[in-house]
């Protein structure tokens, strides 16, 4: 989504002179267009993320709308206090952009992964976090972020185009609509692609509806709640730890609405269960987020009344 991102920022910033773009010394082969086109409004703040976000807050106070870019872990964890105190408490238009959310940086290793980012950021005051699942969502999300002028975090990954006929309602986008579906799958971000691949098996296709959660904190409309109430099974799939993630936010919303599905299962990032490292796909498999395990879990819903654990290939 980096190319879509830089193209969208270029378009928005050329139309709005109050937009400033700061990078924490990253963006090779992705942000050169911004460096060329934005002039003084493109700033490389160096390898100093805390200062980058503090500077952004100062600029935002003076009327600018400021993007802060790095890879996801660096723009989330190191400068969390700056984002909380300097931007969010003051409801200023400071927008963090993290490339490669989840296990996106794969073999780069655990320091380069961001699997707790949304728990950290979506709990802050005045903030909205955005997790596009599809590459064509990046531009409208950025337009919305700039329009809303509140603190925001955009988690970028790699995704295909949105399936035809997708409909957004609140935080959830319905991307596969199956009448009388027994199972509702709610996926977070680009892991939705694994869900859609799992549903290529014909027997699963006819029993599942699929939603993606585009933003957190989770906002559910009455219409979506009514749809979820019809589902016997709810499966959450997220490349993020369980604590503070989509599954926990969704479960609270459902319980508060009096909705008690027969099954509620969450597939989430388990960290590094075997202490070994590999590609994004490797880590997804270790956490049971791979296509095969998602299909197995869905099959088991039809075959067994028992709840299943979060372990892969169980």
């Amino acid at each position: 989504m980096r190319k879509e991102f830089s193209a969208a920022i270029e378009k928005l910033a050329l139309a709005d002179e109050s937009i400033v773009f700061i990078t924490g010394d990253l963006g090779y082969n992705a942000l050169e267009n911004l460096q060329e086109k934005l002039g003084k409004r493109f700033i490389n703040a160096g390898v100093a993320e805390q200062n980058m976000v503090g500077v952004a807050a100062g600029m935002a106070y003076k009327g600018y709308k400021v993007f802060c870019y790095s890879i996801a872990p660096f723009v989330v964890y190191r400068c969390l206090e700056q984002f909380r105190n300097d931007a969010c408490l003051h409801n200023l238009p400071v927008f963090l952009v993290g490339n490669g959310g989840g296990y996106g940086y794969g073999i780069m290793g655990s320091t380069h992964h961001a699997i707790e980012d949304l728990a950290c950021l979506s709990s802050l005051q005045n903030v909205k976090t955005w997790i596009p699942a599809f590459s064509d969502e990046v531009e409208p999300v950025l337009t919305q972020i700039v329009h809303e002028k509140h603190p925001a975090y955009l988690r970028l990954g790699v995704g295909p185009l949105t399936p035809e006929g997708a409909v957004l309602s609140g935080s959830l986008k319905k991307v596969v609509h199956t009448p009388n579906a027994q199972t509702a799958i709610i996926a977070l971000g680009p892991i939705a692609a694994n869900v859609l691949k799992a549903l290529q098996e014909p027997e699963l296709q006819t029993s599942c509806s699929v939603y993606t959660a585009l933003s957190l904190p989770l906002q559910l409309t009455d219409a979506t709640l009514q749809e979820l109430q019809q589902a016997e099974n709810i499966l959450v799939v997220e490349e993020h730890v369980s604590i503070g993630g989509l599954g926990q936010q969704l479960s609270v919303k459902l319980l508060e609405a009096g909705i008690h599905p027969q099954r509620f299962q969450s597939l989430s990032a388990l960290g590094y269960p075997n202490g070994l490292y590999g590609s994004q796909q490797y880590h997804q498999t270790q956490s049971g987020l791979d296509v095969k395990n998602i299909a197995n879990v869905l099959r088991s819903f039809a075959e067994s009344p028992l709840l299943h654990t979060n372990h892969p290939h169980s």
């Binding site: 500077v55 807050a57 100062g58 206090e81 003051h90």
Partner: protein, 271 residues
Amino acid sequence: MVETQTIITDYKRLSGELRLKVLGLYKKANAGHIGCSLSCIDLLIAALIQQKRPQDSFLLSKGHAAAALYVALNHLGEISDEVLDTFYQDGTTLPAHPAPNKHAGIPFATGSLGHGLPIATGMAHASKLSEEDAISFVLMSDGETNEGTTWEAAHYAIQNQLDNLVVLVDKNGLQGFGNTTDVLGETATVAKWKAIGFDVFEADGHNPEALIETIEKVRLRKNGLPKIIIAHTIKGKGVSYMENRMEWHYLPMSDAQYETAKADVINAYFS
């Protein structure tokens, strides 16, 4: 002197009045942070009360000296006596450290050290981008220059030629749990700040006239270099038993101590 500011001729008297107000606030609240508030009163008089123009910004990065900021803003008419009287009470807009979004004279909530300089640097950079003639003042403690963000922001300000950034350091030589020389060593020295490329000035932090003169000189230097004024101060300045005593970062005053403190200030500033 800047034409938009209140003309004040008796800074010593004002310094005494603000000290008495700070002592009164802390006594009523039965709270600490007295010594670190008293050490920066004269810096607030010079920068916030006397030198700041409407288009300039002033940020108290050492948020634990909030009471000093509050009485200065009260003097400027930006915080009423009634609001000032709510200091430290439930439902106040004036907690022990400045709160967000409550008073125009308080642009940011501070209290976690090391935040003010990056923010002020961003404000200075924003003024440069919009070609606004505005100074960004930030008041830090010397202990606060331990923070890594200080050095991140300092290099950023140098690289971006932010000569409209004026850093004021309240150098009282004491920090949270020791002398600055004994904790991490001196991080607010002329040599260090010169070495990285700041335009460095020193001043007596308890001589408002000299501070004003220094700030006046500094603000007119459009030389592409960010500015720092290292002001030598005394923690607890004006109260005999508090001066240079670390415990007066934390302790509240007893009734007897309050009476002594007031008498000391009256004796030193009104005689």
